[in-house]
């Protein structure tokens, strides 16, 4: 937005400075400048030999990965560690739900790294049909949490829906949230201003957890697994009939949100970028908030981590499509250095204490152990429920 006047005055100011340079124009043609002394690199013979040997052993792998692990694979230390173990992974980020569609005969990548077992199962099924022999690994995992804010946590606590974890919970901003209580509150279409002691957030919006679009994103499917469990009398749904019935109820919890992001980073961006006015409660992966805090080495004092009780784990899955990708998947699961880096991105690994320690270093307290965890319903039931909701959302 600059206007002509700015342009003119700028013109004048610079004119003098520029006149000096005009002298150069006589040279015609063009010019550039460069350093006179460019350093020449000379490699020693041993280094060359090393490289040659490595190049001969190097295993090149192509992979399609989910957005959650993209920063991990972009990390130079990861690239280096893989290289030292003779792997070079060329990865492209796509949506976890799109991956099963990329399992064409002969043209599939060497491995997939989707977010969640649901997508992992989809890929394995499709791969079997296309004649591949697959193996599945799960090197890292993260629980689903609700990211929230201090005033919201206090209102929910006052309404007996949430409670600080342990004695330090209210100070450390970690809460347990009663999944059944919260689900019922949402289904009853309560507004924030209708709740007891809601002065700090006296708005007419309905109490709803912000999720992504269940037709497109894994985290929203995890939300479906949790809320359907709550509606089903705290039991994992195991028959189709109740699955369809309950899916209709859950559909409302998505529809009433209006526009939903199609990927989980969009939801998290709204939480950190726009804040409490848009996302009082955001359904995200724990690793997003923890990775964010570790990355910036600080914690926002207004942010609260809520653990649904029960919650669900999301596993980062590696599906290998060819033999040569197997040692790579094993390396991701077992190499302590790679695991330590994954921790920095907020993932939990087989070393239970690693993440709470890393989080503590930047002043973030997380639940050291999460014991109240459910499994998602079977693949068929999940697929059916998502279908029912997708139809509802078109109406």
């Amino acid at each position: 937005m600059f206007d002509e006047q700015d342009c003119k005055s700028m013109n004048k100011n610079l004119k003098n400075a520029l006149i000096t340079v005009a002298l150069l124009t006589a040279l015609g043609g063009g010019l550039f400048y460069s350093t006179l002394d460019r350093k020449q690199e000379t490699a020693s013979r041993t280094a060359i030999a090393d490289e040659t040997r490595r190049a001969a052993q190097m295993v090149e792998l192509s992979g399609l990965i989910a957005v959650d692990v993209e920063p991990f694979f972009k990390d130079e230390r990861v690239v280096k560690l893989l290289y030292e173990n003779n792997f070079r992974a060329n990865v492209i980020r796509i949506g976890s739900r799109e991956m099963a569609g990329r399992v064409a005969k002969d043209t599939a990548p060497d491995f997939f790294m989707p977010s969640g077992v649901v997508a992992g199962n989809q890929i394995s099924e499709a791969a079997k049909k296309a004649g591949y022999t697959t193996a599945t690994y799960s090197p890292y995992f993260t629980p689903l949490v609700i990211a929230s804010w201090v005033p919201i946590a206090k209102i929910l606590a006052a309404n007996k829906i949430a409670a600080p974890v342990g004695e330090g919970g209210s100070k450390d901003n970690i809460y347990d949230v009663d999944l059944v209580g919260l689900t019922n509150l949402m289904l009853s279409k309560k507004r924030w201003r209708d709740l007891a002691q809601s002065q700090a957030y006296e708005v007419s919006r309905s109490v709803l957890v912000s999720t992504t679009d269940v037709r497109k994103s894994n985290s929203a499917a995890m939300y479906l697994a949790l809320t359907s469990y709550a509606i089903n009398g705290s039991e994992v749904i195991s028959n189709m009939e109740s699955a369809r019935k309950i899916a209709l109820q859950v559909a409302d919890l998505y529809k009433r949100q209006g526009y939903q992001e199609s990927y989980v980073n969009g939801n998290f961006d709204d939480y950190v970028g726009i804040g409490i006015g848009k996302t009082p409660l955001a359904f995200i992966y724990e690793n997003q908030l923890v990775g964010y805090a570790i990355g910036r080495k600080a914690v926002d004092k207004e942010m609260v981590l809520m653990y649904p009780k029960p919650t669900i784990f999301n596993k980062v899955i590696v599906v290998t499509m060819r033999e040569k990708a197997k040692p790579f998947a094993e390396l991701l699961s077992s190499n302590p250095q790679l695991q330590a880096i994954a921790t920095e991105y907020g993932f939990r690994t087989s070393i239970a204490a690693a993440l709470p320690e890393a989080a503590n270093k930047v002043g973030l307290v997380i639940k050291p152990r999460i014991v109240d965890v459910i499994d998602p319903p079977s693949y068929e039931i999940m697929a059916e429920m998502i279908d029912v909701i997708a139809k509802e959302m078109k109406n």
Partner: protein, 616 residues
Amino acid sequence: MAALKTRAGCSLRLLSIPLDPPLPKGEKLIDADFMPVEFDENHFKHIQIFLDQFFPSRFNSQGHLMRNTLFRLHSIIASILLAAAMAGCGKSTPPAPVAPAKSAVPVVESSLSILATTDLRDIEMIIPKIREATGVEVSFKFGGTFESTEAVLNGKAGTDAAWFANAKYLLSDANGLSKVKLQEKIMLSPLVIGVSESSARQLKWDGAEKVTWADVMKAAKTGKLRYAMSNPASSNQGFMALMGVAAAAAGKSEALTAADINRDAVRDFLTGYKLVGDNSTYLSQKFKERQGEDINAFINYESWLLSMNAKGDLREKLTLVYPHEGVATADYPLMLLNDQKREAYQKVVAYLKSEPAQLWLAEKTLRRPINPDVAKKVAHLFPKDRLLVELTFSTDRAVADSLIEAYLNEYRTPIASTFVLDVSGSMKKEGRLGQLTKSIQYLAGADNSITGRFSRLNSRERIWLMPFSSDVGIASAFVIPNAKDSSAKEAVFAEIRDVAGKLRAEGGTALYDAIYEAVRNMGEEQAKSNAKAKAFAYSVVVFTDGERTEGMNLSTFMQRYEGMDASAKKIPVFLILFAEGEARALNEIAKATGGKVFDARKQPLASVFKEIRAYQ
């Protein structure tokens, strides 16, 4: 090749510089004949700043210097510039050795073309910064929100990426989402109401009191709030404001359905809609002219209103009002369309989300950073900590369609306009008459695209088609019947299409006679209808393909125009510049009548007609 020593210890070498398009043989850009005495790092820095400021896109994708960059300047400056541009150019010619100095510019490795909504024009200045940080040469193409959404949906964007203030409709559509390979939000700006300070005081909207959408509707209905806003049928700001009113009036706390829309509330709100237009630059100009007279508010993005306040050329500053039940925030997603450009896209996104870029965006464009750490650093730029509750955005197409259709056909002040159509002999050339016929027929229902539907003639609208050549023809008058009677409406559309289809090109160009006659006609109609207390939005649309050859000349026209009734002189004349049309004369008329000139020389005539609809 000669080399020159510089103070900084760099050498200057000569090479031949590629120009785009190349110079004709034997032609030289510079004939100055002097030698450099001294040359140091600072010179380069000055030049770099100058060029980045005014010629951010001076290189094409191959790193060739764009020739028009040079020709746009006076000759002396041009010669200075060449040295400078070449300096930049040399540095960006791969694989140029990079100087050790601070002003080093990296190699331009790749390019990324972006289709952006027009409200992002102020972003263009960041192009050099992106290039410097990432080596990616970004170029922009601008369009209206609905027009651009349609282009992406149809796969006709023709760019590597798209960047909209709000892409929720695009992204909630399965087809739209399939076109978007990656997306990332870059910055934020809520849609708010800027009210002249004195009016805000009178309305008691200047203090800590909460202002609700109901207050806004009431003020609009009672004439206390008279606002400028971009057209809800073509742009995001107007549309989102309408959604806000509808959502608040429905008293619903969640996504709306078409049945929830409270029509009375929407109508009340639109009573205060006094200044219509399509882009914010035009609206700002008009707003400055009319602020404190018949207009006292401007509905737009916070960033735009804060920028207007900062410029200091308003008659009165604006108080920003954030309606309590909710605002709609633009989140500016940058979306990758061309998967081949993934790498360049990711580099650009990483840069735009980095602290330096986020700071720049906040400070220069007054949009809120998406990065919360940067947001804290620039918090002083934005009104103090208010809880901005976000409105729930309904993705139900029926809600959007019914709101826009209702706005056009029921709630808005109906349009009454005379279309002055040049059918002189020159219209036989190059299928010009065919284009004109098609453009008119599109307005009468022959275009079923989204933008076509929202720009066609609406219920209650009155239109006169007035062809002219050597003489001014007799105007055919039409009244579009009520929305509910679709067959009657279609019958009138058919008549209009028929009249347009029968236009024949012959004779001279009595341009000013025709314009005068049209303004006079509209003035008379206005006087008649005012007597009956029926409000219409009057305007004249002029289409011509060349200079006047017959009838009165421009100065006679201006004299006679001056003598017209004051009320007739308030009728804006929108003029289309086409083929050999005379830009200077048309601009003069636009200026005198408070209208605007639309250039149809570089885009299809039919889209220009659509665009004009948003100003009527």
